[in-house]
């Protein structure tokens, strides 16, 4: 096991938009610290809680999952993870979660923001907002925070998705899921009204939903442009550029951001500005990235290989819903997203959609179409040990894609935020061998006919 940090490299990003994301993060954390200092409502929020609603209420939100990635990329995660483990939290628990628990534990001991806290820390929230989508961890994590550390009001939003095999054309099923989704949105709104002392501004919500739909569409269109050969925008850039989408997609800032990103990528395609001048191979990256070592993508590039597309943080195809419907629009977005995911085979994507349409887990047919459409020569599957949920399905992908595509696949194992699980020599050795295999098959992209 490797513990030295010398082998961890920060990424060199390619697009201006991706390069600007560090600044976006800094400003965001600074803004929320400022707001908190003024006593404005602030929250620690689980991702997939509809950012549209947070925006409509003007809640300053920070996201502990994001802080897990931030801490890992700034070399601070191991410190926090160790603290959490010495408190009795099993190393098998999500490393984002262990990161937060260690961070808050240290902060409470110091009675101040830890001096090394990345981006100045998450600060004291006036409320906790979680959502049951995706994994059991998300509920238990916030329950733990509220029990042990943060004596502020907590709200847990239920997010329910139709299990695999249900008849998604059945109107009764549709009503069943939309009803509960709407009720849960309303109960989140009621909670926020109580916490902020303000009524939901419906007009603002509609505007925010409209922004969010535009931001999604622009991001989707950008992903379409990424199909170009040579690749104009690699995975390390995409992993940065999803930040506004995941956490602030209802803002006009997000719309501007994606407008610029789209223009930039379009121009790169037109002018054939490539990620690497001599693009020899393209790969599809399945799974979360190792946030502590995003330089691994540049390592691939040094071997003539670009990660052209990734399975994680996909925004889904644009959805036509009337923003004027307000909360109902969000519930419909979530439903339509589920319908789409079921169409593509939901056997390994049981939690298809968050309360405002975040995609959690991709159906195998979608991953297959990525491999084809992005003209990849191989697939790298990154199993992150401590997130069972995102890792789940990778074995199935491999089994099914082996049958449907004629592509080499490489499996790597480490973690998204626990660098102790990264074995640099081994991983790089595997990558080199894999690229040799790609070399032997030169010229073969996807695809069994």
């Amino acid at each position: 096991m490797v513990t030295s940090s010398s082998e961890f490299a920060k990424p060199i990003r390619h697009t201006d938009a991706a390069k600007s994301v560090n600044r976006v993060l800094k400003d965001w954390y600074a803004r929320s610290q400022e707001a908190r200092a003024k006593g404005a409502p602030s929250a620690w929020v689980m991702a997939s809680t509809p950012p549209e609603i947070l925006e409509a209420f003007d809640i300053q939100a920070v996201f502990p999952e994001n802080y897990g990635a931030v801490s890992a990329s700034r070399g601070q995660a191991v410190h926090y993870i160790n603290i959490a483990e010495s408190e009795g939290y099993s190393p098998s628990i999500c490393s984002y979660c262990r990161n937060t628990l260690g961070y808050i534990q240290e902060r409470q001991q110091l009675k101040a923001e830890p001096p090394d806290a990345p981006l100045g820390g998450m600060g004291d929230p006036s409320m906790l907002l979680s959502v049951s989508l995706c994994c059991d961890i998300r509920i238990k994590w916030f329950q733990t925070l509220a029990t042990r550390y943060l004596k502020v009001p907590i709200h847990i939003m239920e997010s329910l998705n139709p299990p695999y095999g249900l008849d998604m054309t059945d109107e009764r099923i549709k009503k069943h899921y939309i009803d509960v989704a709407l009720a849960e949105l309303r109960s989140l709104v009621a909670f926020l009204e109580e916490q902020t002392g303000r009524k939901l501004d419906e007009r603002r919500l509609k505007q925010v939903i409209a922004n969010s739909l535009v931001a999604r569409r622009l991001l989707y269109q950008t992903y379409q442009l990424r199909k170009a050969v040579p690749s104009p925008m690699p995975s390390e850039d995409a992993f940065a550029c999803v930040v506004p989408y995941l956490y602030m997609r209802g803002t006009s800032f997000a719309v501007d951001f994606y407008q610029k990103l789209h223009e930039e990528v379009k121009e790169r395609v037109e002018k054939r500005i490539a990620v690497i001048p001599e693009e020899r191979y393209r790969i599809l990256w399945v799974g979360m990235p190792p946030w502590f070592n995003m330089g691994i993508f540049n390592y691939l590039e040094s071997l003539g290989t670009v990660s052209a597309i990734e399975s994680q943080y996909y925004m889904g195809t644009p959805i036509e819903v009337d923003p004027e419907k307000g909360l109902q629009a969000l519930a419909e977005i979530a439903w339509l997203r589920s319908v789409e995911q079921h169409r593509q085979g939901a056997e390994i994507a049981p939690e298809q959609s968050g309360p405002s349409g975040d995609v959690a887990g991709l159906p195998v047919s979608l991953v297959e179409s990525f491999a084809r459409d992005y003209k990849v020569h191989g697939i790298i599957v990154h199993l992150v040990q401590s997130c069972r949920i995102i890792s789940f399905g990778q074995a199935h992908y491999k089994n099914v894609l082996r049958e449907r595509l004629n592509l080499p696949m490489l499996s790597l194992e480490s973690d998204m935020s626990d660098p102790r699980l990264w074995n640099d020599t081994e991983i790089k050795g595997h990558i080199k061998l894999f690229i040799d295999v790609l070399g032997q098959r030169k010229g073969t992209t996807a695809v069994k006919q």
């Binding site: 628990i93 329950q143 069943h176 049981p350």
Partner: protein, 382 residues
């Protein structure tokens, strides 16, 4: 060999425990339809009322998970992987269907893969919210109704009110009899050991509810009439994830303690909540399978008081300590562990938390820690 029909009480329990597929296979050959389930937050009463036979799927720790590892990542629950391996290897080939509920991440994900690879005429997943509120209760009600209709369709018969009531009463009798047996564990020494109790419950989940009632009566008659054990031993509460073999309980008891009460899946979690029959039957089912179903997968507030029931168990059964068995990768239990530990510490109830991976070897490697724990409990009690 004595034919099983000639056995009674604990001998019969042991036989069924060791041959748990026999009875359902026999029923199958008689034309009954058998529906497999895992930890159920879906009412089995509905299957029974339609003339179907519920059968609890279990794993085999000595057999490993190789066949499932091809399909499920090894960082998912080892229990779920083990059960799936048995399914893929054809051990449950007699099943006509599968009923899972959205209990935890691993089981929900198992559902998709099971249906994909081993689809059967009746395959259904009851979706269960993680929080309890008006909308989620409404949602769960509709889930039960959808489930009931699907069962009716499959069974080709409507489930009438009286049939459902009769089935609920049958299952309630199971629960009441199990509670009576548990009551005998309040004696010191307890009249039935933790190992015997577990064997009885596992056996009971392998046969129809009606036969289980009979078996429970026999076991009760036997344990109250046999000569009582004289040596008192430290009394422990057992907490944790799914245990469907006696290995762990019997290790604790061989190490010199008695398991007198539990908060485990094949234990109080399954048998503690009788369904009320004095009002709307569906309300009764919702109470018992959702609102009151005790498992950390459901959010029950942000205070340590969510563990109050453990104090109650310890008091009622006079337990001097608790051993908690956590399945590796079971997030609900892992994340609760430090809160639970602190809660029990405040009560001055000693606790040992162990993590296991559902293999036989792992259980044995825990011996030393368990012995040391039992000794420490004994000292405190003296």
């Amino acid at each position: 060999m004595v034919p099983v029909a000639a056995l009674t009480g604990l001998q019969k329990v042991k036989y069924i425990y060791n041959n748990r597929l026999d009875r359902v296979k026999e029923l199958k050959s008689e034309g009954k339809r058998i529906i497999g389930y895992l930890c159920s937050m879906a009412p089995l009463e509905i299957l029974e009322a339609a003339g179907l036979v519920p059968f609890r799927i279990m794993g085999s720790p000595q057999k490993g998970t190789a066949s499932a590892d091809v399909h499920i990542e090894t960082n998912m629950c080892p229990y779920v992987r083990n059960c799936f391996a048995r399914g893929l290897e054809g051990e449950f080939g007699f099943l006509d269907g599968l009923l899972l509920s959205h209990t935890c991440d691993s089981v929900l994900r198992l559902y998709g893969l099971w249906k994909y690879h081993l689809d059967a005429p009746f395959t259904h997943c009851v979706n269960v919210p993680h929080t309890i509120s008006e909308p989620t209760i409404r949602f769960f009600r509709e889930e039960i109704e959808l489930f009931k209709e699907k069962v009716e369709q499959y069974a080709g018969q409507e489930i009438s009110g009286p049939a459902l009531r009769a089935s609920i009463e049958l299952y309630n009798a199971n629960k009441a009899l199990v509670k009576e047996l548990y009551g005998l564990r309040k004696e010191d020494p307890p009249l039935i050991s933790g190992t015997e109790m577990m064997e009885t419950l596992v056996a009971g989940l392998s046969i129809p509810a009606r036969e289980f009632n009979q078996l429970l009566r026999e076991v009760k008659d036997e344990v109250i009439t046999r000569p009582p054990k004289l040596t008192k031993k430290p009394r422990l509460l057992l907490h944790g994830c799914i245990m469907d073999k006696t290995g762990f309980v019997s290790l604790i008891e061989k190490c010199g303690a008695k398991v007198v009460m539990d908060d485990t899946c094949i234990g109080t979690r399954t048998f503690w909540n009788e369904v009320a029959t004095d009002g709307d039957l569906l309300d009764g089912l919702i109470d018992s399978y959702f609102k009151k179903f005790q498992c950390p997968r459901t959010y029950r507030g942000r205070s340590l008081h969510r563990f109050d029931y453990l104090r109650q168990y310890a008091t009622d059964y006079n337990a001097q300590g608790m051993i908690s068995y956590i399945m590796r990768f079971c997030d609900c239990h892992s994340l609760d562990a430090p809160d639970m530990r602190d809660y029990l510490r405040e009560l001055r109830l000693p606790v040992l938390i162990v993590e296991d991976d559902y293999t036989e070897g792992a259980v044995q490697s825990l011996r030393v820690r368990i012995q040391a724990f039992i000794e420490s409990v004994t000292e405190i009690s003296v």
